[in-house]
């Protein structure tokens, strides 16, 4: 396997956009291509992420249109990936392995989504299509509902009073909103308090509105290439150290929802491939679609023992002054969650952190970063470990 690196990254501001999926993707894609010192004609394949285009804009089969927007050559296959919220992380993993295998030398990976454009009711319905349509969705299951059931199980299993767990979950939202306030591309750039969370409307017991990430519009893209090529193009190549991806079935088959087994499988592979462990990770962008989700993730990674990670944000261990900075971008919670664009936006943040380009939200001296994206009701997990040298 050849060494693989990222040459350039790009993303739109996340939030509410008047632009179409293709227009947003063109902005992110061109930013990534220009930042890589290459031209569109140099791109040999497009790995394109989008989940719900047919419902957002009546647009299916978006990948070839995206290639056309960017002026990619006809010889570059443009292929759509769909893995719910993990869409563009999964696209990245496949792109990186194909570059590593020598099939391509330089490719573009990214995603785009107009989740906010659907409105809450249709967005909630179409997001729920990521659950099993015969045996789960008819119960009226929603994604907040999935993580709400995990939160209740967590409180019961570890005998933590629910109001104490909820205060600790709220601290995750407070931290990620603070981080988002430092990120000009975040959907929300305002700080909140624990009371903001605990006084917000209930969405799915025990999750309140400010435990939940927003529906967002946005796009992101990265240029992935063989490492020698990248060293000739840009001053700070960021290397792909290790990757993992794992799959699980319907939520009820997973039984203990406090343990995201597909994530444990995925991260084990990524750690082994990278030759690192949890202690080596300097900065992490993880899938905080809900506050409880960040708690489950930091336990899966081995940053904390199971049942011991719930108060990490409360005691400041995952903030900028803590021992392991989690979601410096603001995470899905504050940066926003345009689902098909989320993965490569997480990769974009880690690349910029490892290059030392993040200004006020820079994690000093970060050399190894972890990306974590979860799709569906714990059905797809994908992890990418990046390093700066």
């Amino acid at each position: 396997m050849r060494e693989v690196a990222i040459a350039g990254v790009g993303m739109t501001k996340f939030g509410i956009s008047e632009k179409s999926n293709l227009e947003m993707f063109a902005e992110a894609g061109l930013e990534a291509i220009e930042g890589s010192g290459v031209e569109p004609k140099d791109i040999q394949a497009l790995f394109f992420g989008n989940c719900l285009g047919p419902f957002e804009e009546g647009q299916a089969h978006m990948a070839p249109f995206a290639a056309s927007e960017l002026g990619l050559p006809m010889s570059a296959p443009a292929t759509r990936f769909e893995a719910a919220c993990a869409t563009s992380t999964v696209a990245f993993r496949h792109a990186a392995y194909l570059v590593g295998a020598g099939v391509y030398d330089i490719v573009l990976v990214g995603g785009t989504e107009r989740a906010a454009a659907m409105g809450t009711s249709l967005a909630t319905r179409t997001f729920a299509m990521g659950s099993q349509s015969k045996y789960e969705s008819p119960a009226g299951l929603t994604f907040p509902g999935v993580f709400a059931m995990a939160a209740h199980m967590y409180a019961k299993k570890y005998t933590i009073p629910l109001d104490e767990l909820k205060r600790c979950m709220a601290e995750v939202a407070v931290k990620n909103h603070y981080n988002g306030s430092l990120n000009p591309k975040a959907h929300f750039q305002k700080e909140i308090t624990v009371d903001t969370v605990l006084n917000s409307m209930m969405v799915a017991d025990p999750l309140q509105l400010f435990d939940c990430c927003p529906f967002s519009d946005g796009a992101s893209a990265v240029v992935v290439a063989e490492a020698n090529k990248v060293r000739g193009l840009v001053a700070h190549p960021i290397y792909v150290a290790g990757m993992g991806q794992a799959s699980a079935g319907a939520l009820y088959l997973q039984k203990d929802l406090t343990r995201v087994r597909a994530r444990e499988t995925s991260i084990k592979h990524a750690y082994e491939e990278a030759g690192v462990g949890p202690e080596d990770i300097d900065v992490c962008e993880l899938h905080d679609c809900f506050t409880i989700a960040e708690i489950l993730a930091i336990e899966s990674f081995g940053f904390y023992d199971f049942g011991k990670g719930y108060d990490a944000a409360l005691i400041g261990e995952t903030g900028f002054k803590g021992k392991k900075v989690i979601n410096p971008s603001g995470g899905l919670k504050a940066k926003g969650h345009p689902i098909g664009a989320t993965g490569t936006a997480q990769i974009t943040e880690i690349v910029q952190q490892l290059r030392g380009e993040c200004g006020e939200r820079q994690v000093e001296g970060a050399k190894i970063g972890l990306v974590d994206t979860l799709g569906g009701d714990f059905g797809t997990l994908c992890n990418i470990i990046l390093r700066s040298s």
Binding site: T120, S121, L122, T124, R125, A128, M129, S133, K134, Y135, E136, S137, P138, A139, G140, L141, T142, P144, G145, A148, M149, A150, H152, M153, A155, K156, L162, M201, M202, V203, A204, D205, P206, L207, G249, A250, L251, Y252, L253, K255, L257
Partner: protein, 133 residues
């Protein structure tokens, strides 16, 4: 190889008050609702059997912001059946506004109820329900 127990056959069972599942010829485990292979050992050698409807609530939530076409609030539970499978459905017979963590661990009896289809599902689908034993 033909699919041993389709959703359509399972669903016809629910309409008649029967819970059709699968019993594995190799390990004896029950798979319910159906899958292509045994949920315990992966064997494709399974027989259709009736599942008993008793279990224990393992977690729950109350949905207050619902997908298009659903009317909140309503409660969703995950239940461990006495025969082994874990299943999802709606709790019935309790006020969703009066549920607490004490619900976890309660014994329940399984039933089913029809849910109105929408433009995506195209047909009404019965979902499992649970009432406290």
């Amino acid at each position: 190889m033909s699919y041993t127990l389709t959703f359509s056959q399972y669903h016809e069972g629910l309409k008649k008050g029967k819970f059709l599942g699968l019993k594995c010829d190799d390990c004896g485990a029950y798979t319910f609702p159906p899958l292509g292979v045994c949920s315990n050992c992966g064997s494709s050698s399974m027989q259709v059997t009736e599942i008993e409807g008793r279990g224990t609530i393992r977690t729950f939530t109350v949905i207050r912001v619902a997908p298009e076409g659903m009317t909140p609030p309503y409660a969703i539970v995950i239940v461990e059946l006495e025969q082994g499978p874990w299943v999802m459905g709606n709790i019935v017979g309790l006020n969703p506004d009066q549920l607490s963590l004490d619900l976890i661990g309660r014994k329940v009896i399984m039933g089913s109820q029809p849910v109105k289809g929408d433009m995506f599902t195209r047909e009404d689908i019965r979902i499992l329900t649970f009432h406290v034993a």
